[in-house]
Amino acid sequence: MTRKSRRLWLLLLCALGLGSATALTLTAFQDNLVFFRSPSDIAREAPKPDRAFRLGGLVETGSVMRETAPDGKPEARFRVTDGAHGVAVTYIGVLPDLFREGQGVVTLGKLGPDGTFRASEVLARHDETYMPPEVADALKRSGHWNPNQGAAPPAATWNTLEPAPAQPRRGS
């Protein structure tokens, strides 16, 4: 085999490898991107019921109820809020150690037909002063927190705040 034809072979193989990797990545992206939505985003436009997404915000104070489902599995119900809107969430499973009312939380799941978010994962894996960046961003967008004016107000007061003041939304 000459050097030229070998080089051709190599190039062909490289193109094949790169092409298939790109094709695989794109198809996998199409089905598996998990978008982040805040309660206000959902109020504005409800996501498709069969599509998983991540819902983030603060756990509304006084909304957490722990129950036991008929089959003995522990079930938690709570509301996630960004100050302007709230979404009811149900979760079957062990809540993380850092799950507390008034604290930032990110949940993964699907929206049920009744408007309740059925979470399959609840993430709250940082210390209690930590706020997930997506949640911080959602709070800024809902108009309740301008980071230039200092730290976020105490988390426990979020769900009692007035609805978002009329101001143009920045970002998407």
Partner: protein, 654 residues
């Protein structure tokens, strides 16, 4: 006083690194024997000064010196000694210091073991390593000084993140860094080769042990980290496709490709430019990993105490080293002409396929890890890419990789025929298909695990068949022992590493069949899972050194036989105001019984119980792979001086 000595040692190290870089480069360029001879000594000096600085930091932690800010933020006098020591690198500043310490260690090793290297090459390699050290020492001194004092000193420190208070912290970061930083040496060799404009078999022979060592350590580091996450985080999983995990997987994949293509350079003098490219890429991935973990752009368990401003500096260093390396590559790569030719079906061809598939997987992981970040920064769209993406995109690339992996070693160099090679592996192929069919028959339509079992059987048995074939176990059994002793250790190591991957795939396939359940149980009640009975006996308080715990006692019975008693805990650390769950795990080697204690209410407790078939074999497989790497490394050929020490004459004769 001692922290000041450490700070001074760091500054001294910075100056030494600068001198080493200049002396090495100028000396090699001018072929000045005295300057070139000075570089190994300078490398030793750099190692001594950085080791001194590191020792000072560890001293500050052990003595709990609360005048040092870093100690105050990350330590506490009530912490056990092991965590005081390992806590020294359980934070940003300390871990960066560990990073440069290991870099200096690598430089010292090149100086000590590289005596048979041509002195110009050694001087250039050491100069490039010093340049890398220079950047990172400047970064540490400029933005993250671990010896920063605080006044007035508080009475005691704030304690270490409880999740990190584990023996895993003592070993996981050093092993991982040995891997990351080990690729700095292959990077330095690549840059030196580009400057000299020459890559030959001897170069391949010098680079290969470094790639092998770095890859083996990285394998161990990743496996250990995965195991740590498995038992510490209590989620019952072993790999979450977390960006930080991906950051360690990418250099591993690139390094694995490098390791294999260096064989081709050494044996056949082909794929030279490609190997140099991979050497640059592997270190680029390592730096990218460092950037992702250290910069705070990520949201993960590793994101302790970081600061976006530091990310910018690491990004600049990354651009300089990688951009510089690739610029040099673009400028000089055409100087390196390949000499060996081969047909597509040959061992070289198989290794090219291996490289292509490994790099494609690395590219998929890279895109999946970075795209959400870019989309957030550029498009303002927030989304994440989870395990389903990686599973769907990587599986179609991993299947041909594993399929061809077993075939490669039995092909001959230069040109081979596929059919005789397949004939030698027919029983491995048969066993693989059998395992696949058996799993489908027993477990129903579970394609993933079935493929996994088939691939595991194929890989392990093909590695055995290869060895059996080489020592002529079946054709001439009497001479087999003598031939086995004569077989180079690199052959044994390669087969062992391939079999190790098979063992790991076995574990992964088993975990594909994992089951779990979740139940609120009161003492005396029990839960059934996978044929076993889990009975909650009691719930009690248990004190610890710097935490208080709630402990559940769970008896596991198989019918009436007591299998084991598990004691999962929930620990609360008053200092950090954190609660952690300690999963209780009992392994039967065929399966892990894994119990996590959840919240307590209504006089009972929530128990999450996992039955994880074959789980321990995932990490054992990783250890076997690293062992295979180590065995290859001990091969005589890796240590004796390469045949072409005088490449000009050797070239003339050839």
């Amino acid at each position: 006083m001692i922290p000041e000595i450490g700070h001074f040692a760091l500054a001294l190290a910075l100056a030494l690194a600068l001198v080493q870089a200049v002396v090495g480069m100028v000396g090699a360029q001018r072929a000045d024997a005295r300057l070139m001879a000075a570089t190994p000594a300078l490398a030793a000096g750099l190692l001594v000064t950085i080791a001194a600085a590191f020792a000072c930091l560890v001293w500050a932690y052990v003595a709990n010196d609360t005048t040092v800010l870093n100690v105050v933020q990350n330590s506490h006098s009530a912490k056990p000694l092991l965590y005081k020591i390992s806590g020294a690198w359980g934070n940003h500043e300390g871990s960066m210091l560990l990073w440069v310490l290991i870099l200096a260690l690598c430089g010292g090793a090149v100086a000590a073991f590289g005596t048979n290297l041509p002195s110009a090459l050694q001087a250039r390699v050491l100069a490039v390593l010093a340049l890398v050290a220079l950047g990172f020492l400047g970064f540490i001194l400029g933005t993250s000084n671990p010896f920063q004092r605080i006044w007035p000193p508080p009475l005691d420190g704030q304690g270490l993140n409880p999740v990190l208070q584990d023996p895993g912290l003592a070993f996981h970061p050093p092993l991982l860094y040995l891997g990351y930083v080990g690729f700095a040496v292959t990077y330095a060799f690549a840059v030196a080769a580009l400057i000299e404009g020459r890559v030959d078999a001897a170069w391949g022979r010098w680079v290969r042990p470094w790639a092998l060592a770095a890859w083996s350590f990285l394998t161990l580091g990743i496996a250990l980290g995965s195991w740590w996450a498995y038992y510490e985080l209590g989620w019952g999983g072993y790999w979450f496709w977390d960006p930080v995990e991906n950051a360690s997987l990418m250099p591993w994949l690139a390094g694995c490709a490098l390791l294999h293509s260096a064989i081709v350079v050494e044996k056949r003098e082909a794929l030279k430019t490609w190997t140099v490219f991979l050497a640059l890429l592997a270190f680029g991935m390592s730096l990218l990993g460092t950037f992702l973990v250290r910069s705070g752009v990520l949201n993960s368990v590793h994101a302790f105490a970081n600061d976006p401003a530091r990310g910018t500096v690491i990004l600049i260093l990354l651009t300089l080293y990688i951009g510089g390396g690739f610029l040099l590559f673009a400028w000089r790569a055409q100087a390196m002409l390949p000499t060996g030719v081969f047909t597509p079906i040959s061992r070289e061809g198989a290794l090219v396929l291996n490289n292509l598939l490994l790099c494609s997987i690395a590219a998929v992981v890279l895109v999946g890890t970075l795209y959400p970040m870019f989309a957030d920064l550029v498009l303002g769209e927030k989304f994440s890419v989870g395990p389903p993406f990686f599973n769907t995109a990587i599986l179609p690339l991993a299947v041909p990789l594993v399929g061809a992996m077993a075939l490669g070693p039995v092909l001959s160099w230069k040109r081979a025929r596929l059919f005789p090679a397949l004939q030698r592996l027919w029983w491995a192929a048969l066993a693989g298909l059998g395992a696949l069919a058996l799993c489908l028959a027993l477990e129903g339509q579970r394609i993933g695990p079935a493929l996994g079992f088939g691939a595991a059987a194929w890989t392990i048995l093909a590695a055995m068949a290869d060895i059996a074939d080489r020592i002529a176990l079946f054709s001439r059994p009497r001479a087999a022992w003598a031939r086995a002793k004569g077989l180079p250790r690199a052959a044994w190591g390669g087969a062992l590493a391939h079999a190790g991957l098979g063992v790991m795939i076995l574990g992964l396939a088993g975990m594909g069949l994992a089951t779990d359940t979740l139940r609120l149980v009161r003492p005396g009640e029990s839960v059934a899972l996978a044929g076993l009975d889990y009975r909650l006996v009691s719930l009690a308080d248990a004190p610890g050194p710097n935490f208080s715990a709630r402990r559940a006692t769970v008896e596991v019975r198989d019918g009436s036989r007591l299998v084991t008693t598990l004691m999962p805990e929930r620990r609360s650390f008053p200092l950090a105001r954190m609660t952690t769950t300690e999963a209780a795990i009992h392994t039967t080697w065929l399966s892990d019984l894994y119990v996590v204690l959840g919240e307590e209410r209504e006089g009972g407790a929530v128990l999450r119980i996992h039955n994880n078939p074959l789980a321990p074999w995932i990490w054992l497989g990783g250890a076997i792979m690293a062992l295979g790497g180590g065995l290859s490394l001990s091969d005589r050929r890796m240590r004796v001086s390469a045949p072409a020490v005088r490449p000009v004459k050797a070239g003339a004769r050839a």
